[in-house]
Amino acid sequence: MSDNKLPSGHTRIDSLEMRGITKRFPGVLANNKVDFEVHAGEVHALLGENGAGKSTLMKILYGLYGQDEGDIILNGKKIKIDSPTDAINHGIGMIHQHFMLVETLTVAENVALGMPSSRGFLTDLDRVSERILELGKIYGLEIDPSAYIWQLSVGQQQRVEIIKALYRGAALLILDEPTAVLTPQEVKEFFVIMRQMVADGHALIFISHKLHEIMDICDRVTVLRDGELVGTKIIKEITKSELANWMVGREVSMTRELVDVELGPARLEVKGLCADSNRGTPAVRDFTLNVHSGEILGVAGISGNGQKELAEAITGLREVTGGSVLLEGEDITHCRPGEVTERMLSYIPEERMRDGMIKDFSIAENMILREHHKSPFAEKGFLMLKTIAKHSDQLIDRFRVKTPSRDTKAGTLSGGNIQKVVLAREISRQPRVLIAAQPTRGLDVGATEYVHAQLLEQRANGTAIMMISEDLDEVMALSDRIAVICEGELIGIVPRDEATPEKLGLMMAGVNPEEEAASAAR
């Protein structure tokens, strides 16, 4: 009996099977007779394009959705999972694609939520905080237990989600795109944790759009397409490009050529910019840089180092406490967001679900969020519904947004498709300046490819692009120059051909190798 137990005390889940799972949503067959299986001691990847039905399948397993058809079999016995409580009682845990955190509560409170307290009906937040710090040390996930969630960056929030799962010590853990918001370094550390858990006898289900991660960490992979099972394979028996083709159903090119584009004048000038974070502490400090027409300026940095505040200060969404912002020579420092938009600045915010679109609006309505008051979408204050419909159909088509129709509520789209809607809107207006935060986060390979191509096309058209990303591969692949930000300060700007992951990594930690060298020489 005892060999059945995990170190955390949970009973092992030797095998879990989902058989013939079907799930329908209004207008969508999200899962169609899907079979899936995972066992203790393995990492099983779930792969598929945006909207293939991965999250849905996992939400069924976690009791958030009820399946229309099909069975779940745990250790050979058919079980019913009607709620997360049932799932938790069976030892199943989940890290969600869209975070399940209570913003107005602290990290410790979020972790403690739903767990029995050592002090009976009183909360034991001190203990929880200690344990969080402990876990943080062990797994390299440092976080302040007393911070409120709304004060944290997306990356930090992801850490809280991971800590929540670790704290609960589930026997089977579902990881729905946990790495999407982590830096490569953090991903490495996270994989160490995952390996440890597998070695201990956990079963892990891992969803990711990053094929190299899947090749790296998984034992088996199951591919879904349009809600249907394509098949399951052992990772060792398949190559990365085979995997990509298998998933998308066509060739995918993984590398991209940067054609030379003539560098134009500086379109976006940021001079000594300062702004505060939501906590009221300085988040952007004396930040200065220019972005020229026809270039992609990558902004690299670890999540939560002021990237979001920088973008918001530039776009008028956040109060500027010092310095100035010029767009094509004109001062836009204290302009309202609308005025900035008018000057053809586009912004793809990091938290698209919250900041960049309206969940209960249809896709068509979301597509005109920026231009709803302008011709051809509006004439004399009236919306031109036909034009709007045609426009959104075009974009849905061009960006391959997977949706039953343009009238579908945007909030019901899959994670990746929500992003496509925002991207489509921001890019299609032919901006003079484009600020793109994490533009491919959560996108499948095909979509990533498409977005990259779009950014390059914009660059070729002379748009000045500022691309904020934590994905160093992406930054190095697309940027002409790379600016590194750390604790709100500009550490340095490196031309693309001088950039190496090591150098950038150092800078992201706040060290400028050139300055170091200079001061060493002195």
């Binding site: 976690y62 399940m100 107005t104 939520l113 009183l122």
Partner: protein, 310 residues
């Protein structure tokens, strides 16, 4: 003019204020719990009226005050239970169903009053219980420690509510359900159970709020005797920004100004139209809120029925 600043006047205004605040406190603390869990209960006034009538009637018949109080609790709980079923299980729009329950309570209490009593009667309600020693303190003793039991309990509820909401796992669950029910649900906190609990608690406290009027402060029942008090109590929850202490501040402010307003009307040297005087508590409540620029947001899930979104 100096009349209003004399010690006896101030004492009488403060004691008035504390008495007036009592029903507000019960109802608003109850409402705070339900709103913190994401449920707007606009039926408070109806629950108060039914609680007021039933407790009055039981006391009238049995002369047992505690039995009367108990019956208000039971009636409040039943109203809460119905409200919970409608808003949680049937996911009905909270605002309207609240108005529905208000109308039901308003009509039902009056109907029962007509059928069972027929005319205005009085009972011997909770009498003033001076707290030993404390009530002897000059001024303060008279104001705070010379009241009836239900007044003391109302004020005791404030620290208790604060404690429950902020220091217990139950409070943590309530707050998380009101902010992000999906998140709470995803870690196995039962949104349904928590909301049932808070709505029923809210009903009970509203029932007691009614009882505090009919069998402690006024000792009569008259149709529609709350006359909008329940709605003010809901407003006070917003004034208090969903904090027990804030609710206390709001209830006291409103009641004190009410007491001052009544006093001002009878001061010869001030000639103010009575209608204008009656406006004062309402205007001042708004002004105080404007001056205290609060950034607190309502619980995010307030008025949103929870549904896993299938």
């Amino acid at each position: 003019m100096s009349e209003i600043f004399s010690a006896s006047v101030i004492i009488s205004i403060l004691t008035s204020g504390i008495r007036l605040a009592t029903p507000y406190l019960y109802a608003a603390i109850g409402e705070t719990f339900s709103q913190r869990s994401g449920v707007l209960n606009l039926g408070v006034e109806g629950q108060m009226l039914l609680g007021a009538f039933v407790s009055f009637y039981v006391v009238f018949k049995t002369e047992n005050l505690w039995l009367g109080l108990l019956s208000a609790i039971i009636v409040g709980a039943l109203m809460g239970l119905a409200m919970a079923f409608v808003t949680v299980n049937l996911q009905a729009e909270q605002g309207i169903s609240g108005i529905g329950f208000y109308l039901f309570g308003l009509g039902m209490s009056d109907l029962l009053f007509k059928m069972l009593l027929g005319t205005v009667e009085t009972v011997k309600g909770f009498s003033v219980v001076p707290i030993p020693i404390l009530s002897k303190i000059p001024v303060i003793g008279e104001i705070f420690f010379n009241q009836n039991v239900l007044v003391y309990v109302a004020f005791l509820l404030v620290p208790i509510a604060w404690f429950v909401l902020n220091k217990t796992t139950l409070g943590l669950n309530i707050r998380s359900v009101g902010e992000n029910p999906e998140a709470a649900d995803s870690v196995g906190v039962s949104v349904v159970k928590i909301r049932y609990f808070t709505i029923i608690l809210g009903g009970i406290l509203s029932g007691v709020a009614g009882a505090s009027m009919s069998i402690a402060l006024l000792n009569v029942f008259q149709q529609n005797m709350t006359s909008g008090l329940g709605f003010i109590a809901v407003a006070l929850v917003y004034f208090g920004a969903w904090r027990a202490w804030g609710v206390l501040a709001g209830a006291l402010l409103f009641s004190m100004v009410q007491a001052i307003q009544l006093r001002i009307q009878i001061i010869d040297s001030i000639s103010l139209s009575p209608d204008i005087a009656v406006m004062m508590p309402y205007i001042l409540t708004i002004i105080v809120l404007v001056a205290s620029v609060s950034r607190v947001r309502a619980p995010s899930a307030l008025t949103k029925p929870f549904d896993r979104g299938e």
